[in-house]
């Protein structure tokens, strides 16, 4: 379970202090597929980076299965990202000179899986998301956008994370492919009982998630 309490993030810029997030409170149950919608600059990405331990909040707490990740040391945060969090990015962010298989194996390496078991696990994950064995040995540049996003989902799920954070997962895909990716995420949240939190501006997609949080000027409005 994910519990966010009074989360505030303040950036100091040349123009003075800017509140990116103000007193955000939200709870997402395990296995739930939630979405966060909001306009550009509403604080979506900031919230996502806090939840993913990519950045530390100014105040407030983020509890994942009872552990406050905001108070973890830098090395513990890295370990948290490796084991408890899976990221799916808008631009896939696969490592360009590694094959699809190696990209997934990289996440398994960081998750601490013994090197001998990595390959079989990565192949299974890629097959589950619909990447054929011959495609698994291709580098990202030789895969389509939809295929790359599937690889990135496989990578996100590699270490059986508590939460998958998706930043505009369909934002760079055509609507048909986007729908397939959404369906894949939805299916996985059910089959793997993984909490999925997706940032999107696509109301159509948001409407089909279990729950939707609306973010406006750094505050949850619903």
């Amino acid at each position: 379970m994910l519990v966010v309490k009074n989360l505030t993030k303040t950036f100091t810029s040349a123009a003075g202090e800017v509140n990116a997030l103000t007193n955000v409170n939200m709870t997402v149950n395990t296995g739930e597929f939630a979405s966060i919608i909001g306009k550009s600059g509403s604080g979506k990405s900031t919230l996502l980076s806090m939840l993913g331990a990519l950045d530390t909040p100014t105040s407030g707490s983020i509890e994942v299965d009872g552990v406050d990740i905001a108070k973890l040391s830098a090395s513990k945060q890295t370990a948290y990202r490796a084991k408890k969090i899976g990221f799916v990015f808008q631009y896939y962010n696969l490592i360009p000179n590694l094959t699809a298989l190696e990209n997934v194996m990289l996440a398994l390496e960081f998750g601490g899986m013994p090197s001998k078991k990595r390959k079989a696990r990565a192949e299974q994950l890629l097959t589950d998301v619909g990447i054929e064995p011959d495609q698994q040995l291709r580098k990202p540049s030789r895969l389509s956008g939809g295929q790359q996003q599937r690889v990135s989902i496989a990578r996100a799920l590699a270490n059986r994370p508590a939460i998958v954070l998706a930043d505009e997962p369909t934002g760079n895909l055509d609507s048909e492919t986007g729908k397939k990716i959404f369906d894949l995420l939805h299916k996985l949240s059910r089959s793997e009982n993984t909490t999925i939190l997706a940032v999107t501006h696509d109301m159509d997609i948001a409407g089909r998630t279990d729950r939707t949080f609306k973010l406006k000027d750094g505050q949850i409005t619903v």
Partner: protein, 459 residues
Amino acid sequence: MNVVSRGVKNAVRSPLRSGAIVVMLAISIGLILSMLVARSSVEAKITEVKANAGTKITISPAGVNGFAGGGDYLTSTELATITGTTNITKTISTLSDRMATTDTNLESSLTMGSFGARQERFNSSSTATTSETAPTDSMFANDTETARPVPTPQVTVTGTTDVNSVSTDGTSLTISSGTTIDGTSSDLVALVGTDLATKNSLTVGSTFTAYGSTVTVAGIYKTGNTFQDSGLIMPLSTVQTLTSQTGSISSITATVNSSDNVSSTVTSLKTALSTKADIVSQAEQAATSVSSLTSISSLAMAGVIGATIAGAVIVLLAMIIVVRERRREIGVIKAIGGSNRKVMIQFMSEALTLTVIGAIIGLALGVAVSGPMTSSLVSSQTSSTSTIKTGSFGAGGPSGMMQRGMSQLSTNFTSITSSVTPTVFVAAIGITLIIAIVGSAVPAWFIARIRPAEVLRTE
């Protein structure tokens, strides 16, 4: 696939750029190796010069140079002073004399020539009055303007405590037949120069007359020096006795225990002997030679440092470019759980891979060019030092010791050979590692500063 192999793989990710970096590195590493080789070769030579030429001091009677000049010979008193001086380990004493036709039955193998005739004029001026009354060969009497005796070159006699001091090439005297003589004895024996022996048909065991005594030929020597090869070598005390100059010495070569003590020993000798002797140390001449060698050495060291900095900067800039280019990738690796340490190791192995490839090519290159580079470095410097070879040692006489010293100095430059020793090789590899470490330390710092949150920024 682990973090190191990813780094190695990344090194060849962009073959063209990696190739260019490797070539630049290879050149600088090759330069480092060849400069190190040049430096160690020159340093070895400096040590050799200091050890050999630098420890000898030549003491001659004040005002005397060979057979020219004037003054009193050194005596056993001065010899005792010299022998008693601190740091002097060995002395070689020499007494030279020239035998006229009245002193010996030997005929000089040297022809008078214009130089000899001129010398003869000075020598015979004092005997001019007697020669005017003496009956002379009619043929010459008619031809010469003044009534001087038939000019004949004289036979040079070197009495020495060490016959090897006559050798002109710095090594032991070459005895072509017979055996050498003991310079410390007082036997009536002699080593005869090969030219003189041929002229007078002398062989080992032959005898000849010198100063009224019969001297036996113990051996024939050959130096390749026409002046030396037309002379005689006898034990010092034999010459002193025969010429009635007991205790007289025309030249002393003293050996100092360490090249570092030469100048202080020269100073104390000058104080002790004051006006009685002229003191010349080979170290003073060697210093000129060594100073130019030292400048080559420091030039080579500057080259090593310069090339090292260049190599480090090449790796540094290359890695900074690579890190900047892969900023997003580094962010992704961190976001999916890669630690700073792992990312740094990955980039360091990438830098090390480039450096190692560059080093292999560079070291091969260095081995190939170090020989020609050392000789070109040395030859460009020798032109400025050529003056030392034509020093003021033109005067005749048994200046074998001086000649030996000079010939040694002149060979300093020609005998420098470059060789890639294991030490130099290890030093080059060590420097290469420094390049890789310095070259990847700063990029590592950049890596640590990349925040994983940056990956959430849209492109």
